[in-house]
Structure formats: C-alpha cells, structure tokens
C-alpha cells in the first residue's frame, strides 16, 4: 500500500486514468470482462456450495472443537434443525431423506470450479493491477471519518453519489479485500483440511486449525461470514440501484454515459 503513495490517484480518477488521452466520450467499463465472468461463475458456485453445504450439515448438525466428535461426545453446539440421520438426537420425531451422495459430489465440483476461477481472478488481478487500482484503499479512504461515513450512509438508506458509481469507497475496498484474501482462502483451507487424503500429505493443514473437528467448525463459521457478506453485498447493490449495478456486472456498463475530459 505504501509503495503506491506517489502514484495514488483520487478514487474516481483511477478508472479514467487508462483513457486519459484528451477529451473523448467513452463508455468506461465499470468492470472488466474477466471480473464480470469470474463474478458470475463464482456466484453460481457459491449457491451450489451453499445449498450442498447445508445438506451435508443436515446429516450431522452438531459441531465440535478439537480433533474428534460423534453423537457420543458433547458438542460445542448443535443446530436446532432435524437431521437426515436416524442416530443424531435432534428432538424432532422424523428423519429427513439422505441426499448426501450427489450433494457431496456437487459440493466438490463447485469447489473446484470456484477455486480455479478464483485463481484466474487473482492472477489476472495482479497482472492488470486490478487490486491496486480498484481495491486497495488510499490513505484518505482509510480515515475514521471516511470509513464511518461509508458505514453510516447506507444505514440511513442514502444512495451513493454519482461519483461513487464508478469506484468503491474505503469500507467497500477493505471488505472486498477481506473476502478475497481472508475469507475465501480460509474457507478453502478449512475445507481441504477435512480431506483425509489431503491431510495425509499436509498434516499441518489440520493441526494448525486445531484438529479435524475444529476445521469443520471453522468451515461452518467462515461460510456463515460469507453468507453475511452476500446479504450486505446484495443490500448495497439494491440501495445503489439493483438493475444498473447488476447490469454493470453483466455488460460492464453503468448505464450512464460518463464524460472524461
């Protein structure tokens, strides 16, 4: 971040910087094609992972800390939902149908596609300076005042200003960076740590997380955090104008012609 100091442009200038050759009328793409494609592939995978993840949890809605845990040991907590397994004590008088087979297959397939898409996004993001240009916040973005304003505005249902339509504020930048570089890696790591074969090759991947059951519990909470992010993300999109922002993520255009001089 510090190395960017001298080259740092004002937030809304960053989009225009690549087309700053005299006065021209341009339709500056809000999002590059690669960002758009990877965004929607990730969206599809996320829903597949979420639905299948819920189904897998239903087969054992108990969570533990440490290495081991079964219905014969005390859980850290148990979700108050019915289960698809007879031997799980849930308090419900019925057992849900077992759908784990294909759900597991879809979970892992979607995970593969999401991870490969994520890798493509990360590599291209580094090569095209997408992270530096669009996501790393400037010093000004990071002042408490700026961050508080960014936080308070949507809570008052204030629509973002026109200037904000072409870039992100500091809070959004920090959130995206956190999701991309903390939550996603953590959910992948904790997921892989639950693979017995993966753990045999890289045992520290489990021990660092505190054991197999800890990895599972972490996987659950990071998934919850991602769902929380999804809700806030969609709420913000709705606040800013659902169709224009969703359109921008599909076509790359914000819907409003912007003049760069």
């Amino acid at each position: 971040m510090a190395t960017l100091g001298s080259a740092q442009l004002p937030a809304q200038g960053s989009v225009a910087s690549s087309v700053s050759t005299g006065p021209v009328m341009v339709l500056a793409p809000r999002h590059s094609a690669l960002v758009r494609v990877t965004h929607w592939i990730t969206t599809l995978c996320f829903f597949a992972l979420l639905v299948t993840g819920i189904e897998i949890v239903i087969s054992h809605p108990r969570f533990y800390w440490g290495e081991t845990g079964t219905v014969l040991t005390t859980p850290l907590f148990q979700l108050p939902i019915p289960s698809s397994r007879k031997l799980v004590p849930t308090g419900y008088g019925y057992v849900l149908p077992d759908q784990n087979g294909w759900r597991r297959a879809l979970h892992f397939e979607a995970a593969w596609i999401a991870v490969l898409t994520g890798l493509l996004y990360i590599i291209s993001g580094l090569l095209t300076r997408h992270f530096r240009k669009d996501l790393v916040p400037s010093k000004a973005d990071l002042s408490w005042r700026a961050l508080l304003t960014s936080f308070a505005k949507p809570l008052r249902f204030e629509r973002p200003s026109a200037a904000e339509a072409s870039s992100y504020n500091g809070l959004q930048r920090l959130t995206y960076l956190f999701v991309i570089f903390v939550l996603f890696p953590l959910v992948i790591w904790s997921g892989l740590a639950m693979s017995l074969a993966f753990a045999s090759a890289l045992p520290w991947s489990v021990t660092l997380l505190g054991g197999r059951q800890s990895a599972r519990t972490i996987h659950f909470f990071v998934s919850l955090a991602l769902v929380l992010f999804l809700f806030v993300h969609v709420a913000m999109v709705c606040l800013a104008g659902f169709w224009s922002r969703t359109g921008a993520m599909i076509t790359g255009r914000t819907g409003t012609r912007k003049e760069h001089t």
């Binding site: 079964t70 087979g101 879809l106 892992f108």
Partner: protein, 252 residues
C-alpha cells in the same frame, strides 16, 4: 476502446482454444497414468476426476495422520448397522472360526484365509481417525494385517488395477485402486483398541483405509477380487455406494 475489446476477444478466444487443447492433453495423460476414477462419467465426473487425479498425485505415498495413544476416543461410535443375516449369526455363534476370506481374480494363487490365518501374520496397528462423510469422527487403534501382505502372498498379476472387496452384508461391496490396496496403512482389520474388532465396528474383519472416509471402510469382509477393470462389477462405477450417488474415491 472498441479495438481494444476486439483484441481482447481474439486473445480470449486463443486462450480458450489453448485451454481446450490443454484439457485434451491432460485427459490423455490422466488416462495413461491411472488418474481417472471409474465413476468419471456424468455431470459430476469433472469434479470426481479432478479430486482423484490431484489427490493421487499429491498423496500416492503419504501416510494418514497417526495419533498418540492418549488421543484414542473413549467411546468410538459404531454407525448404524443393517440387521445381521442368519448366515452371519451362525458364524458369530461359532466364534467366527468358520469365517473365510477368499481372494480371487488376477492372482497367481487364489486362496482362502480364516481369521486365525490372518492373525498368524505379523500384526500391524495404527492409531488413526475414522471420519464419516456426515461430519463426525473418532480415533481408535486399528489392528490387522496390511492388505499388501496378503496380496503378496497370493501374488498379484502386474496388470491388476483394482481390488474389489465384498461384505457379508447383502449388496455391499466397494473397490480401491492399487495405490490404496498396497498402501502400508490399508489393513484387513480384525482388532480395535487392543481386542478383537467388535461386531458393531465390522468384526470379525473390516477393510480399514484411513485416507478415505468411513463408507469406504466396509464391514464384514468375506471376499477380495483383484481385477484390471471394474466394468463387470455392478454398474461399473466401482462400488455399490456409487449407485446411490456417492463418490467412488472418498479421500475428501
């Protein structure tokens, strides 16, 4: 701007073509080096193949995590058991003295082993975790004879690729590739935590492979068949579990 996107389009097109031919080459290599699982067909085939291939490359010789004795779970959870058959109960009444494990298929010398035969070979044990695909897990000491030991006794043909194992439970069988069959931690398991393997845990004989989830660790093993193809078994995807939608390879 328009020129730029056309250039981008061409570049993306070339990248896609390169990707497609790369995939074709990868598929060929994967087939050649045995990195394609028998259940590679269907809409989940891509995921199954990626998982199997990458884990085979990464874990061919890796050992499942082993634990100190004080980590053994005090109450190992035996999962639900189908009602025992009359045949099983008869053998159980005889203390499993008449239990036989048969080995056939691509071996030099098909053979029958009693539990006593298996116990006469140098016993091995490991303290490893049994993890169910549902999410729960426990640690136990597993005692048995490495499957590789028995396979060497009967002599496996060089073209063998899989070992099919069949349970006494009706309609219960599974299979593993030779990497798992010859893995030092893959046991024909007859003991647990210092005593005989309880019936609830699959006694007198269970397949135990700690690098795959619980459902691959089939209980009540009576027959092994060494083969180079799984086509003649069930619907060809390598396990009964696959017919219910479960993956053949369950290292994850």
């Amino acid at each position: 701007m328009i020129d730029l996107s056309r250039r981008k389009l061409i570049v993306s097109g070339l990248a896609a073509a390169a990707g497609a031919s790369g995939l074709a080459v990868a598929a060929h290599l994967a087939q050649k080096y045995g990195l394609v699982p028998p259940d590679h067909g269907g809409i989940y085939g891509l995921g199954e193949t990626l998982t199997y291939a990458s884990q085979r490359v990464l874990t061919r010789h890796s050992l499942a995590r082993e634990f100190p004795r004080n980590k053994i779970s005090p109450r190992p959870f035996p999962n639900e058991l189908a009602p025992l058959t009359e045949d099983f109960k008869r053998l159980q009444a005889g203390g499993f003295a008449d239990w036989r494990l048969s080995i056939d298929g691509m071996v030099h010398q098909p053979a029958l082993f009693s539990i006593a035969d298996l116990k006469s070979y140098p016993p091995r044990s490991h303290i490893t975790e049994l993890a169910c695909e549902e999410g729960w897990s426990y640690i136990a000491e597993w005692i048995g004879v490495p499957l590789s030991h028995v396979l060497h006794l009967v002599g496996v043909h060089p073209q063998a690729r899989y070992v099919v194992y069949v349970s006494m439970e009706p309609d219960t069988w599974d299979s593993i590739d030779m990497a798992d069959a010859l893995h030092p931690q893959t046991f024909l398991c007859y003991g647990m935590n210092g005593s005989d393997l309880p019936v609830a845990h699959g006694g007198p004989l269970r397949m135990r492979l700690p690098r795959q989830v619980g459902y691959k660790n089939i209980k009540f093993i009576t027959r092994l068949t060494v083969t180079d193809s799984l086509k003649g078994f069930g619907n060809g995807c390598g396990a009964v579990a696959c017919e219910y939608g479960y993956a053949w390879y369950a290292g994850i």
